[in-house]
Symmetry: C2
């Protein structure tokens, strides 16, 4: 038993050390070489040969999923359809076309003694990705890390093991054939817990961890990891209907924020309503939501307002305001003024995306200043928080932390910097 654990630990340590070594070889690689590898990967992903290979691996995972009696939703996320394969290929092509952040000179200055100090963008080094079920995350993360010059260690879920392995092998083959270090992309070959713990303690080799998945997994990683972790626990987004909200904007944006895709992290979960709207704008918004099939949960004032116009509205519990439904349920809170709305959002929100709907620029300014979130919207739907929409080209995740990356995290956020000092023998 002890020997078995030690074996797993040794395997993971060796992977971490090989990743560190590979990261140093990958860091100075020219953009053209990285892009060629990405283009080649796109080609391979679209080839019938690869399709057959991946179909077989995926079938094995789906068979296990059947045996594990996973839900239909889980099995759907697991499935590698031809459409998803094409999406991965397209992703690789898109990332190849993005500008390479590495090597950019961020600042340059001359010291009084005559030497120069340049601040230059460099890769982070080794990035660990810890994720669940969806096998396309393997490709999405590997290509973003590759483009930004980082080595990746992938630790996927047990249910997607064969699919992940086949995809990782594909990337490694491309790296090898392109003369790049193949250990720049490695998959942990076991889903053993000891392997994960060893990974989380390897802060001498891994510079950053990005956990993607359920809140339980993310909390475990954040608490156990010795290296920096970039994460978002949840997307608890709030929409505030200000006293001076325009009715049409309020209806359109609230319905979009809640209903356009309720299962994602930038969908709204709480609606905060100024009390003066309870007899005017709010019932129209509530009706529109109701017609979209949203179940409303409100405080006393909101329920009374709904009752007046014959709309169903269940009582809300305090803990509902902290719940990410990821479905068609909405919690409603009535407030007496904008200060109360801001306090509510700072208390219950997750710092992801919050919106104010108002025609009053002063209220909007105050809301955008005082709400402590990565993205704060004024008369725009929260659904736009996304790397593509923000012009980052792609995203490896969305951070609700404040250090390093906040909000959508693209290629630039996968880099660090270093200072290069050049002189002629200057001393202090």
């Amino acid at each position: 038993m002890t020997t078995a654990i030690t074996d797993v630990e040794q395997t993971v340590r060796r992977i971490a050390e090989k990743a560190l070594h590979a990261s140093r070889r990958l860091a100075p690689v020219a953009s053209a070489d990285k892009n060629a590898a990405l283009e080649r990967l796109a080609e391979l992903l679209a080839s019938p040969e690869t399709e057959a290979l991946l179909a077989e691996a995926n079938a094995r995972d789906l068979h296990t999923a059947e045996e594990m009696e996973l839900s239909e939703a889980m099995k759907d996320r697991l499935r590698l359809t031809p459409e998803r394969m094409r999406a991965m290929a397209e992703g690789a092509r898109q990332v190849a076309a993005l500008p390479d952040p590495v090597g950019a000179v961020l600042e340059s200055r001359r010291h009084a003694k005559g030497f120069t100090i340049e601040k230059v963008r460099v890769p982070l080094g080794v990035v660990g990705i810890i994720y669940e079920s969806r096998p396309n995350v393997t490709i999405d993360c590997a290509i973003l890390c590759l483009k930004s010059g980082n080595a990746t260690i992938l630790r996927g879920g047990r249910e997607a093991f064969h699919s992940n392995r086949a995809l990782a092998e594909l990337v490694r083959r491309v790296l090898r054939e392109g003369g790049l270090p193949e250990d720049a992309v490695q998959l942990i070959p076991t889903t053993d817990r000891a392997a994960l713990t060893t990974l989380l303690h390897a802060d001498d080799c891994i510079h950053c961890l990005i956990p993607r998945g359920g809140e339980g997994l993310i909390r475990f990683v954040a608490e156990e990891a010795r290296m920096p972790v970039i994460k978002h626990y949840k997307g608890l987004c709030n929409v505030y209907l200000d006293r001076e909200a325009d009715a049409e904007t309020a209806i359109r944006v609230t319905v979009n924020a809640k209903c356009q895709r309720p299962g994602v992290c930038n969908a709204a979960e709480n609606l905060v309503v100024h009390e003066e709207l309870l007899g005017t704008v709010f019932p129209r918004v509530a009706r529109a939501l109701s017609e979209e099939g949203v179940l409303l949960r409100g405080d006393g004032a909101a329920r009374a307002a709904c009752d007046q116009v014959g709309l169903p509205c269940d009582p809300v519990r305090e803990e509902d305001y902290a719940t990410e439904y990821l479905g068609k349920i909405l919690s409603i809170r009535t407030v007496g003024d904008i200060g109360e709305a801001i306090d509510f959002i700072n208390h219950y929100g997750s710092g992801h995306s919050d919106a104010i709907l108002t025609e009053n620029p002063e209220a909007a300014r105050r809301f955008q200043t005082e709400v402590d979130a990565a993205s704060v919207y004024w008369n725009v739907s929260t659904r736009f928080t996304d790397g593509f929409e923000f012009g980052l080209g792609a995203e490896i995740g969305i951070s609700t932390d404040k250090l390093h990356a906040r909000g959508p995290m693209g290629l630039t956020e996968l880099t660090s910097y270093k200072y290069l000092i050049r002189g002629e023998g200057q001393i202090k």
Copy 2:
């Protein structure tokens, strides 16, 4: 016993919550108001009234230090001399004069649907500083955090408790009188371990921790903390004498890097020598170091070379290369080529500051690309790694991590950013 621990925990929790609240009030404060507070603090620090107050508090700490039989070096660091008081006042004035990073628009773009996305610099929120002995750190950190709009929680060492409390009270008085939230600067009123642990777990209130002190303290903080930690464990700086090093530059820079102030983190600890210099440049460098009182420890080749010219050189042990002497001892390693030098430095260095001395631009380019450190020097002394020297105006610390801040950490590194989206009802 249990009750006592709970009291301490409650006290710390309350401090953390008050800090979070104060940080939200401080974030939008205008630069002029923050600067006025800093100027007022400078004034107060230079007043005879304050001097008397602090002298009394400091005397109590020095008395305890006497009883604790602390070393002379420790007692010296503890002492608040009139000169040190003036330096703190001067520091407050200098920070007031620096540009305010908060509010800067970092990027701005228009989405295809017509709304704007602005990336704006904001304070981090609440910054925890965990430090030992030197009471002036209380002022240095409080003023940098104040200027960058952050609330600070200070946790100093037991030996400086009364001095720290008097200094923190001074800042709080200035905040109060200036109409700013006084809880933006709070000192943990106990040096109890339970208080520290409670602090390290309060990731719902504290956004970043900066430990300053010995490696033991820093490792404890990094392992126990649930929030991001910005740190450097040690400054293990290397100087590499390349095959094409100029003799005069090699002597001048190596002596400066080692001897100008051996007790600081940017001083050199290892000298890496290309084997072709063993009979030429190296003995002259070794002699110059020896004349400055540096004890040399070398591998076989280096010792033989020293022996040839009658210079003493002790045998070096492998662990010496990983030792931050902070004194006049230097470990020497001979290498066959630049690749070996780079591997040595990436293995034993701490990613702080490393230098190559060479007249060959290609060697310099390779060294600066491949050495994985915050500051990489070419023909300049490592002693320049410092916030003032790098043009940051001041520094709260030096980071050897790669996320968020790398190298000297100034006001800008004490900020995050947020996205402000403004539109006219756009939906996805």
